[in-house]
Symmetry: D2
Subunit: 309 residues, 4 copies
């Protein structure tokens, strides 16, 4: 715990952008970061980093379930008197965290307080969160230069083993490998390769089980470099292992990021195609546009992140 408390105190951004701030480290994205992002676009190629949203999704249907699509109009005439022209409409029921997503800052808390020191009791209810809901991340969106930190490629593996805890040293070496120096406002995309358990092997149990990811020291590294957001291709960004899950403070990196730093977390992003391209042309930075939906008071949002190179 000593380590966690030291880190928490170090990275806590409460009040840094005002008492009522609800955008956290997105405040670090200014014109320079955006322009750095557009300048990284040279080939004019776009990559979607999002999974599909459908019944074949990654959820095991135990607690969270995969999206349910309901067709509410099918072959419905636009003019009942003229059945020739028709439209179809649909409704979706889905957990906001069922596939590629952003976690809102209000998604987790400990010691009864959310990001900014706001009391969870005052903010959270069955209507969502009145403080730090995802709608605050949606305007003006999440766009900046993105950098791919490909830890799997650093280790020359298709995917890191389940017990690999990504260290600050891993990040440093992967940035060196990529020839990138993180800049203020950057969005860090950390690749573990773990997603292929789902996308290639269709092994949902493995995908949702113990897995590689960042350790808590990474929070300090992100803080020091003024990273604005971090996303990974696993379920929780941070590693999931038995000791951590049974500890006094499970998901400590979630707490450091969302609760202390006010840093949104992207989960279940798919970097496979992008990573191939970066390895091929040696360019590991890009414009990243990953806008959450402005779902009022929600704890997260599905997203289809786009990388432009």
């Amino acid at each position: 715990m000593h380590d966690f408390e030291r880190l928490a105190d170090k990275v806590r951004n409460w009040g840094r952008w005002g008492e009522r701030d609800q955008r956290g480290t997105l405040n670090l994205i200014g014109p320079e970061a955006l322009l750095r992002g557009t300048q990284a676009v040279s080939a004019g190629k776009a990559f979607s980093l999002g999974l599909d949203f459908g019944s074949d999704g990654p959820q095991l249907n135990k607690s969270r379930f995969n999206p349910l699509l309901f067709v509410t109009d099918l072959f419905t005439p636009l003019n009942p008197a003229r059945p020739n022209a028709m439209y179809s409409d649909d409704v979706i029921t889905m957990p906001l965290q069922c596939a590629t997503q952003w976690d809102a800052l209000g998604h987790v808390h400990y010691n009864g307080r959310l990001y900014g020191g706001v009391e969870a009791d005052a903010a959270l209810s069955t209507k969502g969160t009145s403080h730090c809901g995802v709608e605050h991340l949606a305007k003006p969106g999440i766009v900046s230069r993105g950098i791919l930190i490909d830890v799997a490629r650093l280790y020359n593996v298709r995917r890191l083993p389940a017990d690999h805890v990504i260290s600050v040293e891993d990040l440093r070496r992967a940035c060196d490998m990529a020839g990138i120096a993180p800049q203020p406002g950057d969005i860090a995309c950390i690749r573990t390769g773990h997603i292929s358990h789902f996308t290639v092997d269709a092994d949902r149990a493995a995908f949702n089980g113990l897995q590689p990811g960042v350790g808590i020291a990474v929070a300090e590294w992100l803080y020091e470099r003024q990273i604005s957001a971090v996303a990974s291709d696993n379920v929780a960004v941070e590693t999931l292992n038995p000791e951590m899950l049974a500890s006094d403070l499970p998901l400590p990196f979630h707490m450091l990021a969302l609760r202390e730093m006010g840093m949104p977390l992207g989960e279940m992003w798919n970097f496979e195609e992008l990573a191939e391209d970066c390895a091929a042309d040696g360019r590991y930075s890009f414009l990243l546009c990953a806008p959450p939906l402005a779902i009022t008071h929600a704890f997260g949002s599905p997203v289809n992140p786009i990388a432009l190179k």
Copy 2:
């Protein structure tokens, strides 16, 4: 009808990008268009063009309803033995067409055929559409140079009257006013100002009622300029008036765009803030990143479009 049929034959792109194409005019977006978009970014400012998704949304709750947010976990301990650290989760139930959206190509059809000539009977079911579902627009996303065609400002009004049918001449003059020449791959953002009935006046009846929008001749103009997609700040992009709705072919522009051209339609976008900025700095082009979610077989997707200048 003579006019419609002539236009339909003119703009029909069936087979243009292969027999099995499901991306329609998004095929017109190549590296040049993307780079033209990034080059339009000079100030490093981002604008969200999306409405909120919540119970205060624009739907009248008659056929389509506003999103329902269900909180499925609230103050849930991450480790049941240690109630200190907690998370919250949610589920959404929403019509995919309830607020800012993209219509997928499969959303409408007439004469029993969808875009590409595919038989509606073969593609459409209560599971969605097996042809031209929105997932095909999600990869690699919808990104290009965007141009704001501000017809309201052209007429020096806050918003066009309900019976204003936007003509090709309106578009030409608005582009001249903006100093933009549409380029292949561009995404046309046509502003009517109509959205302020909802966003400012909270008048959902007016917002969903008869309204200004494009006339069918605009389809030809978009086709000739190789526009890749079109979005507007009204409910249907095209004008809604009694004669059209009671005709043999209601929503004819929908048919020309989605069914003939394969051109995705963006609806209920909010250009108010962007339009102020464009009028202020005289720059009416930007990078537009508007990725739909890859919802398998769906007829549309919610979207939070981002404009970068």
Copy 3:
């Protein structure tokens, strides 16, 4: 408050049927009560006392909404190779309290405790209630002799005015008028006529607004007569008026019934047809079978109550 506290102490059944009881006054229904019910059946006529569940329901779609029906299979071949034989399936999304319903004992509480003295904090969560969920009322169901206490007919009106507070004297006189003496285990059906605001006038605002219903003294009357459950044709069984709603303890009758007595409340039942029949043949008792669904941990259940005479 003095009155309420006196009544609360008087009618509190905590521990009466054991420490872990979750069925409350349904425990008062024994073989005699059931047989008394079947003996009341002489003509062999059945009456449904339930409203329809559909988009035309009584909800105003403000907080609670009317049911949403989604057809998930339509013309689906039972054998894909033989499209001749087909089936259709559906899914419903509905508030459990949207129309004719039973409130479960866990539906309300005050001073942090539910029926039986169980701490609300320990029982209630986003997964429902682990104490006194409606599933405990579903087995072996809610069946007994029912008695119609027609207060509207007593006053010779189609429906009581909104400010009518049903008194013990009203119940006594209505029972006399009906020639019934309440017996232990009986289910009391109290008619106000209020439902016709919805069923006849389609006036949802009036139906959901201020309304006639029982006053708190009725709780004592029900307790003394060992009534097993009470249902009414209004929204809350008890009267809804401005003073009560703005008081320290709104819905006091709910508290006395559900929390103190453990008495299930039936709401939005429709007695109009039954009441005509009772007035015509002078028989105001019947077998009442009103089984809630055993929805695990739920706060209530829709019901289609059946009266047999």
Copy 4:
């Protein structure tokens, strides 16, 4: 097929109760049948024949899923100014056929026609069925004398093997064993014991797989005895075996019952407790009250059937 066509012609009730009839064999329930039911009640005992509706339900979550319960209000103060008195509310999303249910007459069809000869194309849509929706079975409900035809007990097994096709001879012998003579209007409850795969063994795969049930000849037996409805403790009432499922007309008993006879089918009922009681006291008839909810235009309804002895 020859056999099926002969049976279909034999049992077809189209027009028997008028051109526009939507209640089918429920029309066979008159006062005598109801009174016969109440007269079967001697001990004053009630049995619920319904399964629970919750996440532990019998569905495998492949096509149909188990109910999703969403708590929309939790510790919500009735008067925001006085947080002492609180309520909780919930919403359910569930397939109407996910557990103990009635199939509506409109649930299946073949040769393009539903019960009564109504064209499926004219009746069925994504809004449900405008002909023979379950709401027509809900008023005045489904109540009559019920008879338990315990085929499992006849064979002295806990449950019939998966390939057992219940014959007319089985029914005759089981009625003899029970000492019951079926009467017009009776509801036949046919016990296979199959449900214990789920309720005892939690083996959902076995419960939903190949299973014992009635053969098509039973339709004629039910027709001749003027049975008003039939329910069983398996998934489909009829047997499910590979040949039938791969045939030209899968679920032929469904077609004979729902489409030809207009006989509602009850599925996934639980007779275990009732069957023990009937074996103990030798009384196999009872009052059966099994009211579907009046869900407008729906293809079925959940139900909690109650048997009174």
